[in-house]
Amino acid sequence: MPESNDRGALTEAVYYILLSLLSPLHGYGIMQNVKSLSHERVNLGAGTLYGAINTLVEKNWIEQVFSESDSRKKEYIITKLGRSVLGEEISRLEELLQNGKALLERGVK
């Protein structure tokens, strides 16, 4: 896959946006979903979300859904590429978590 070498850690906002878009959602839905997923901890500002959506569409990690119902609001869904990015990120997070837990436990003894 191209660009995978220069791809860094996802921001918290992007990680949760991608997770939210495993099913189609519009901007407001993403905000609400991120809020509930993070137990109210991550509150996405509309300006921040707008910028993130545009960048993710440009990178083809998400795409617009064209549906006949409620065409007033744009809906988005994760792409195949987006899913693979998410998968890689989860592996990276697992590594962080395992190392962190293991070393912290060892440190206590």
């Binding site: 500002g45 509309a46 300006g47 910028g51 744009k74």
Partner: protein, 187 residues
Amino acid sequence: MRHKVWKLFWDYEKEEKWLNEMSAKGLHMIHYTWAQYIFEEDSQNRYQYRIELLKDRVVNPESVIYIKFLGENDIEHIASYMRWIYLRKDVKNGDFDLYTDKASKIAHYSRVFNVWNTLMIVEGIAGGINLGIGIINLILNERLGNFSYGNISIGISCLVMSVLFWRLGRPLKQKIGKLKRDQIITE
């Protein structure tokens, strides 16, 4: 009932604070043109106001799409002034922050900083040139014409404006610097 208030702000964050204080008193801004604010009296509702500097002019298609997006998120576009937009959200619909991560905050502060910085440079150059011409002409015993004091006063006014814009930009530059330093260790 509607109220008209004339007030001039240089600092948009102070302006934002003032609009929110007014709204807490039951006076909600509904229109703005040339330092003239129109407030609507309504003790039932309360809004949180935000002022944003857009990348492009309000009529630009990109800006139109963005403002429409804000509308879908319960954010009302109240008024505009050049690239500035006045927004509000009913407090019943939750918190209202436009930018919630360091990268997007830096981008917005930088946009505002660039406006003040450009004006500072333009006023500074205009001030310097006017002051220079005035002084040179004075040294030459007004050989070039009877305009020295006019140029000197214009020059000084421009330099005063330049200092004002520098003072507006300085706190933003500090905020940007702090955010960038923090960005090295946290998102």
